[in-house]
Symmetry: C2
Subunit: 447 residues, 2 copies
């Protein structure tokens, strides 16, 4: 029970105080909220949408338990009629969204929620919480995949992810972005994501000598022999493997790979590669981990380090160089009228919006146009209906199919958006119709 997070109390208090205000004023007309990112972090040329499936499950399942309702009432902050009304509350609105795995840019709505004002308001905190994290991590993971298209990439980040859910969802988001799998076993069970993993230093240390540890491990996991060789002396361990491999081979056990987890990964890999090759073990692969991120990955790949796979943990699961997105979920229309916030540096584009993407003949993104839903433009509309009357419109795509969407989307990135650093093109146009609506919303509000 400690670790059950499905309660609607996983929200900000102000959602509830505002709802009570709406309730008392009878304000339950249709509201349109959109989720978007205001500005990309430094060193991000694009983002990859993820987390929608969990968001829709949250909306579908939304309900108040007796326990939560009594707690609210006992808090003394809310009226009895309001709490009684909550008891029957469900999410019965519509959702339009870019499919998971879609590349997107600043100021493009990726999810639009259309529902009665109190419903659409209550869900804000958790909807942002769910969309933000997986999008953050899928975007980081996509950068890793773009730098190392042919390497085995595995999520190793559970331990330093920010809590249980971050660990689990990082596995999902990185798999969508093209990772091969995750060390997190729960992600295997829940999402059918391939699980990877072999041994830690403690396994070596618990044995009186390193070679016995290797041998014991090989016997316990004969089809998964990846040996960690940096506990004491990396090159010495590689030499020891040259002696050990024939003994294991005689028992029909093949060492698949070695893992290096410390020091200069490129240097160690080259030395270990030479030792293994000289010992006739060229079929043994090298897997590296330890402080790997897309920047190091790019450098190792460019330098031709003989490493076939990488475990990428902390830097990815915390998106360490950009640990959050400047994202928002904002009211764009209420009771049929466009709404706009004009706070300094945080002004929003009003109205129900659609994003149209234009590709060139090679299938690369030329630009996107953000406009109003009733102002069709050339190109492919990116937001699709996914939920109607609070229910999923169609069965959710498999993770494999979402990963395929992501692969196609990443393929459509123009070359200048594939770099890890620098100034990037901002291929988003705001349509004339949208600019006109913003001006008219300002006039109507008297600004």
């Amino acid at each position: 029970m400690m670790f059950d997070y499905s309660s609607p109390l996983l929200t900000d208090l102000y959602q509830l105080t505002m709802m009570q205000g709406y309730f008392e004023q009878g304000m339950d007309d249709t509201a349109v909220f959109e989720f978007f990112v205001r500005k990309l972090p430094d060193n991000r040329s694009f983002l990859l949408a993820a987390g929608l499936e969990q968001t829709l499950h949250y909306l579908e399942d939304l309900h108040w338990s007796e326990n939560d309702l009594s707690w609210l009432e006992e808090s003394g902050r809310f009226s009895k009629p309001f709490v009684d009304w909550l008891a029957g509350m469900r999410f019965t609105g519509e959702v339009h969204a870019m499919p998971e795995g879609t590349v997107f840019f600043a100021n493009e709505p990726i999810v639009r929620i259309t529902a009665s004002l109190p419903q659409a308001q209550l869900v804000e905190s958790r909807v942002i919480n769910l969309l933000h994290y997986q999008t953050l991590i899928a975007s980081k993971a996509a950068r890793c995949r773009l730098c190392a298209p042919d390497k085995l990439l595995v999520d190793f980040g559970l331990r330093r992810a920010h809590g249980a859910e971050a660990g689990l969802f990082a596995a999902r988001a990185s798999y969508i972005a093209g990772f091969n799998g995750s060390a997190t076993v729960l992600a295997g069970q829940r999402f059918d994501i391939p699980a990877y993993g072999t041994m830690a230093h403690s396994f070596i240390q618990a044995h009186d000598d390193e070679v016995s540890a290797f041998e014991h491990f090989a016997h316990a996991q004969p089809r998964n022999v990846v040996l960690l060789i940096d506990t004491y002396d990396t090159e010495q361990a590689a030499h020891d493997l040259v002696a050990l491999a024939p003994r294991l081979k005689a028992q029909d056990i093949a060492i698949q790979a070695v893992r290096i987890d410390s020091g200069d990964l490129g240097d160690h890999a080259r030395r270990v590669r030479d030792i293994l090759d000289d010992g006739g073990l060229s079929e043994i692969g090298i897997f590296a981990s330890g402080n790997v991120d897309e920047y190091l990955l790019e450098q190792l790949v460019a330098g031709g380090a003989p490493i076939g796979g990488f475990g990428i943990g902390t830097h990815m699961d915390t998106s360490a160089d950009a640990p959050y997105l400047d994202c928002a979920y904002k009211l764009q229309e209420y009771a049929g009228r466009a709404r706009r916030k004009r706070s300094e540096g945080k002004a929003t584009w009003p109205g129900r919006k659609q994003v149209y993407r234009q590709l060139d003949d090679a299938g690369r993104i030329v630009h996107d146009v953000v406009t109003l839903v009733d102002d069709p433009c050339d190109g492919m509309p990116l937001l699709e209906p996914v939920m109607s009357h609070g229910e999923l419109i169609a069965p959710w795509p498999t993770l494999e199919s979402i990963a395929e969407t992501a692969r196609r989307n990443l393929d459509s990135l123009p070359a200048e958006s594939r770099r890890l650093r620098g100034q990037f093109p901002r291929p988003v146009h705001i349509s004339n119709a949208l600019q006109a609506l913003a001006a008219s919303a300002d006039r109507a509000a008297g600004h």
Copy 2:
């Protein structure tokens, strides 16, 4: 069910492959693992221990469901006898730890787990995951509290925290470090943390004019009237309040505060303060939010900005300037023999350790000594027994009492450790006994 994270499958695959190795070799002697931080992030002079209560609950509750066991068996990676053995597995070990709220430094164990090797191994991933995040956030929050000892500080970070658990635990960790409360309602319900919150921009936008929104909100929440004034024009809204306040007063409703969420918070606060004071509303407080972290807080406090309270969200809940700690959970002893990893840049101090703290006459930390448990030193030992035979030794302290421990610990920081930036003292000595053991462990391992 989607959001239940209590399964022991929330671990790294290698814990299970190693356990199968231990199982097959009959390696179930006593192992001692310690959790520590290798090196503090830049701009961190100390850390604040947190997350132990959830870690101990995890250990107490650890068990395998039928469902998890069948999944493991069907994965084809594990032997039937091993899976059968897991079915009866519980955590039956001992835990020693620094109390939550203790200030600590690099290379000091804050938790020591003593249990049979497979038990102590399995729990590694989740123990790190739980201790790392709350310690990270408590440390960040403590920095905020140190810069602003007299301000109201409220956690606003749920939406951009990395998932549900991060949102909930950030509320707990920041409360331990001296925050006054959190906007996260679930933290109120689960941990009895005071909940704060009033309105978002959407409440204002949903109304046809801002003043009606203020009025409606004041009627709906007459004891909690904090009005958000930056949706359109901050100073204009302050002027409007001067006109509104007497009308509300006539209905016995007092405006408690205004909130400013954008622009230059110090500048706006000064202008709003003047407008309110000129209008005879000097009793209305000013609360600020929007991109606040300890650096901005220090600057606003030093500049005398007339702001009484702050909502601190994203930067704290993601620890944005240092989104992870270089922490580890390492085997220090197995079957009565000290163990040591010597990987480059990641060597560990072997053996079961204790940390002794010496304070000066003013109660400030002079230095800590890290030594072996059987080498008593002067000063106060920081690690205490908290779990025996898998059960809590004593009822867990209340959050209030943990926050009091943290307050005392923060008071004990020397002046040079209270700065936000720069080079800090490293007040940790490694005892002669520990250095001798490390040398002897190396000799025994033949290095």
